[in-house]
Amino acid sequence: MADVDYATLKKGGFMRQKHKNNFSLRLAVVGGTLTSENLKKIAEVADKFGDGHVHLTSRQGVEIPFIKLENIDEVKDALAEGGCKPGVCGPRVRTVTACQGSEICPSGNIDTYNIALKLNDRYFGRELPHKFKFGVTGCQNNCLKAEENDVGIKGALEMKWKSEDCINCGLCAKVCRLDAIKIEDGKVDVDYDKCNYCGRCVKSCPTDAWDSAPAYWVSFGGTFGNNISMGQELVPLITDEEQLFRVTDAAIQFFDDNAKAGERFKVTIDRVGLDKLKKVLNEAYEG
């Protein structure tokens, strides 16, 4: 065991335990989603190579503790049979987390899992000056806590009233938290300067009297470790996926270009300047 390359092991998600020669194997999970096939194999590996338990991490990952160093290749092969791959730790893009989103949850404005998969394909494991986290939440209930992440994506709805389907029940105005909807003489009037596109008017409408389309709020520089800071929204509402990925590309590239080793995105932003990042992001936003 003298030649163990801990850096390589760590990159592959093998977390050194306090117990000598034991590793907690972190698996790659995207958007908190595993198939039953994945789970069966994980259970089998935990029984055969671990001590029969797994740990669910704070960021929707799975770790199998008490994996012995000498079994690492065998464990990797076994997991691969069940469609599982080791995850990552260290200075790179981490697990992309997501809530269930619009495909499952009635409150969801965006297909979070689809966005998480695309972010994962684009960035997962990318080497950077420090760890970098993405999180995708479907709506402003924010179950996934978007602002905890270096880049957080939050689902919104761009919407427009359809007079022909409206029964003038007044529910949209009632549920609006920002008092952005006024109803006069049967006409629903949205003050788009007040609106934050949360989608509650659309979701509550009992007659589907709204045209709506998924949109995204993106926050930057969130971190919830030794230092705590909430990510900030630095660009206007994003209204399509291509625009979204232009902006996330710009954010990660800004971090790659400007960060010092071991420095989180928030620290880079404070050191290099919020205005500089804003400029880069807004150029990407405009396309």
Partner: protein, 82 residues
């Protein structure tokens, strides 16, 4: 509310989510196609979710009235599934 011939009434102001919706749903199941149910519900969470959930079950929401006492009255037409 004279516009509608009410078949039955249900008050869901005495229960909380998710029973609010369940109580309304059970009341609707008792009815025939085209019957009209009047649902009394509380402001807040039930107002945000119950009308929409009933609509998603395939029924038709005809009207919502503010009773101005913290409760609302929802008028629903039962639509039988094909």
């Amino acid at each position: 509310m004279a516009d509608f011939e009410i078949t039955d009434r249900v008050d869901i102001t005495d229960v909380v989510c998710p029973v609010t919706f369940v109580k309304a749903k059970v009341a609707l199941e008792e009815l025939d196609d085209g019957d009209i149910l009047e649902v009394r519900l509380n402001d807040g969470e039930p107002l945000q979710n119950v009308p929409r959930s009933i609509k998603e079950e395939g029924h038709k929401i005809l009207k919502l009235n503010d009773n101005e006492d913290g409760t609302y009255t929802l008028i629903v037409k039962k639509v039988e599934e094909d």
